[in-house]
């Protein structure tokens, strides 16, 4: 097996928090590691150890490994080496670093999904700090933002990121590839507490069923018990026509998103700021979602420099019935949250519901009622979320109930 060479990772002066590995398998000569690192003085030794450990894990005894490091974390370096190895060797083994405690949380069907931040699945530098900007969801993208020849390394990087990069409470999402590649992505995701999969170019319930089947298989194989939600993306004329069918294809479909770049291309038209060309599609999809009892999520707004235009866009989106929007830059998150923020009437209603719930609990009643109306537990939950959101946006104080009770008394 002489002269087998593989590469993985990114290189260049502007690349940060990443590395580029070149692996050459040899017949003899042992392991040789050539490291050139931006942080050599502080991490040269531990990087070396890591390289050796990954190679030995895969039973490689003779190889030259060149590591050109631009400050990559161990989880990145390990992913790059593993990807390089797997282009040369056929193996099912996986080199897994620790799953960090901070990432042990689940998401819920009724969760707010105002903002979801797209991150290219093969660019580690953006992943590290994504969570601190507090989007509702973080999407590691394996699809359009990853070049075809980089798919394997992105799968490994995304897997390691799901395990080792703190998402700071954001819903943990991955956009998988179109099928069949998308089905191959799953084994890198399902065992690693992914909360939600975004399914691109969805055009029918059968796609969702096919996906669900594979997910169920992997879940049982890896003893995963939590729900894995789906957000199919409608990106074509056919998809729009099939929106309701897709929305009701599985109980795990909790939202539909619309992708307007591809949709307008499919229509043979161009995307405009006024968005009249996609009005029908958006309304149709919103209607399908509401009919199915799930969330309707809008496309991304691509002018990252224009916050005023974004604000206007979100207002329209909210007016059409959308409950969230994609982000491609962290600065968009705040604007989107503020624009999707619950209005005074909604907060007021939520306070009444939560108040009724607290009173019912205090009295030991099993049923919560507001006036003559019974309130279902999911509605209470949603009201609590509205209130938490209003608090986090500074719309009401943390001690809102005091003021609320005073007001009622007075």
């Amino acid at each position: 097996m002489s002269n087998k060479i593989a590469n993985a990772g990114n290189i260049g002066k502007k690349v940060r928090s990443d590395c580029y590995v070149t692996l050459e398998l040899k017949d003899s000569g042992g392991i040789v590691i050539n490291q050139k690192s931006k942080v050599q003085v502080l991490y040269g030794d531990s990087n070396n150890e890591l390289c050796k450990d990954v190679l030995s894990f895969f039973g490689i005894e003779n190889a030259i490994l060149t590591l050109e490091d631009r400050g990559a974390l161990p989880l990145v370096i390990a992913a790059r080496i593993e990807a390089a190895i797997k282009t040369l060797i056929d193996t099912d083994k996986e080199y897994l670093l620790d799953f960090i405690d901070e990432n042990n949380y689940t998401s819920e069907k009724e969760q707010f999904r105002f903002s979801r931040l797209y991150l290219p699945g093969n660019s580690p530098s953006m992943m590290l700090n994504a969570g601190i900007h507090e989007p509702n969801g973080i999407i590691l993208d394996l699809e359009d933002s990853v070049a075809y020849n980089k798919k394997t390394e992105a799968q490994h990087l995304v897997r390691n990121a799901l395990r080792g990069i703190n998402f700071y409470g954001a819903e943990r999402m991955v956009r998988i590839n179109q099928f069949p590649k998308g089905l191959e992505d799953l084994k890198y995701l399902i065992p690693h507490n992914v909360h939600m999969l975004l399914v691109p170019k969805c055009e029918g319930a059968d796609q969702i069923k096919q996906l669900e089947k594979k997910i169920v298989e992997l879940k049982s194989q890896h003893k995963v018990t939590h729900s894995i939600f789906l957000m199919p993306i409608i990106e074509s004329a056919l998809g729009v026509e099939k929106a309701f069918e897709i929305a009701t294809a599985s109980e795990n479909v909790v939202a539909l998103a619309i992708g307007l770049e591809d949709y307008t291309a499919d229509l043979g038209t161009r995307r405009t700021n006024e968005a009249t060309e996609s009005f029908y599609a958006r309304s149709r999809m919103v209607n399908a979602c509401k009919a199915a009892g799930i969330q309707a999520i809008d496309s991304v707004f691509s002018d990252v420099g224009d916050m005023e235009a974004l604000k206007a866009n979100v207002k329209v989106s909210k007016g059409l019935g959308f409950e969230g929007m994609g982000c491609i830059h962290p600065r968009q998150i705040k604007v989107i949250h503020e624009s999707f923020a619950p209005e005074a009437a909604a907060i007021d209603k939520a306070m009444k519901i939560v108040n009724a719930f607290i009173i019912a609990t205090e009295k030991g009643l099993g049923v919560v009622s507001l006036g003559t109306k019974m309130i279902d537990p999911p509605v209470v939950k949603r009201a609590e979320k509205t209130i938490n959101l209003a608090i986090s946006l500074g719309l009401i104080s943390e001690n809102w109930r005091e003021d609320f009770l005073n007001e009622q008394a007075g």
Binding site: S17, V41, L42, Y43, L73, I100, H133, H329, P330
Partner: protein
Amino acid sequence: MVPTEINGEEVIPFKGIGKHKPTGRKYAPPIPTVLDYPEDGNKVVGSLKEALKKCGLSDGMTISTHHHLRNGDLVSNTIFDAAKEMGVKDLVWFPSASFPCNEPIMVYLEDGTVNRIEGSMNGPLGRFVSQGKMKGTAVLRSHGGRAQAIQDGEVKIDIAVLAAPSSDLFGNANALSGPSACGVLGYATTDFLYADRVIVITDNLVDFPNMPMEIQGNYVDFVVVVDKIGIPERIVSGTTQITKSPDRLLIAELTADFLQESEILKDGCYMQAGAGGTSLAIGHYLHQILKEKGWKSKLGFGGSTKYMVQMLEEGTMEHIMDAQAFDLDAVASIANNKNHHQYPVFNAYNFHSKGNLTSMMDIMILGATEVDVNFNGNVATHSDGYLLHGIGGWQNCLHAKNVILPIPLFRDRISVIKDEVTTICGPGEMIDIIVTERGIAINPRRKDLIEKMKNSSLPIKTIEELKAEAEAICGPAQKPNISDEVVAAIKWVDGTVIDVVRKVID
């Protein structure tokens, strides 16, 4: 422990803040007489080399320069070209700062023309020094410390070579016009007042009298006219830009929120921030808050930028006092706006002044390469031990009422918060608030701020918590390989030695 001798001279180790008070009389240059200068006032000589000769350039002399031409400086290197031609050895270069454009001086450090640099060292020169390649020991001082060292005679300047964007034949000079206009020449003030000999070098000889005379011709020995003293686009950046990095913008936003909530930002406050992308973003956010509240900052201390000029023009800042201008808008504003004043660091930062502007500032935004759990700060070296930055005005600015360091928690996997900084440039007592993208740490000595912010919704954490957070992400780092050999001394603002930099072993 810091040594008690540097470059063969006795030095005093740091005693604590405010503990060292030199006494006696200020140093003074020799007495000149008008008899030695031309009656027609024409001091122009044919070349820099001729001027240096006439100034008696000889072995071991100290040559000073200012850094207002920044990375576009075409003058400093030519001094040593001339010295080399003259066969002079062991010179001490005493710049107010050096830049990557001064890299050619490494050749003269190697061949013995220059013994050492005493001044801020950036980039390749810092690296050269860290590797132990400089014959003498580098001495790093703050801008104020440089003025202090000159005034109390710690450094005696033999010849000051002062680049001037405009000068008349008598040596009256300023920086307001000419192809290399850089706004102000404040860093040169101490030099022309205290040097034995002063050469003004210009590419823009104008008619007498050149007004205003920021450098006064009656302190000048010779005037040299050359084709070009600087490369304009490297002197001022055409535009200084607010950072686009979402993480840095988040830090800036947290900083502005903190300043507002803690009421450090108030109507009439004095403020200072640098020209880095994050500082500019903070300035921008503070500008918005002031506008919303109908408040104004009474005084902003420069280096100024177009963003500060904007505050001046929109009425959220009443005065700018400026030691340097960072962009073209600032240069133009100094020339045109009567509330935009030149104010040398000689007055603002100097330990031997009768009062100090920095201690009057309410808001001081600074940077650092490292801080430690005791809030000690480092601006000179990186965590790998290499000397890569100058101190600038940083130490002097620490005297402000509220010192805020907005810094990313880690850079390229290198945590900013350490158990101990690689080099102490500023004592922890003087640093009040660290703002990172992952939380804000208040110095435990600032009980008032901790009390004030105890119910804040901002992510207030202890510095130990921030450190642990960074380490969990970056992983434990190994110790750099550093020898005992001292390659640079870090002076405190009062002239004592606060720390040293040691040679890095590759």
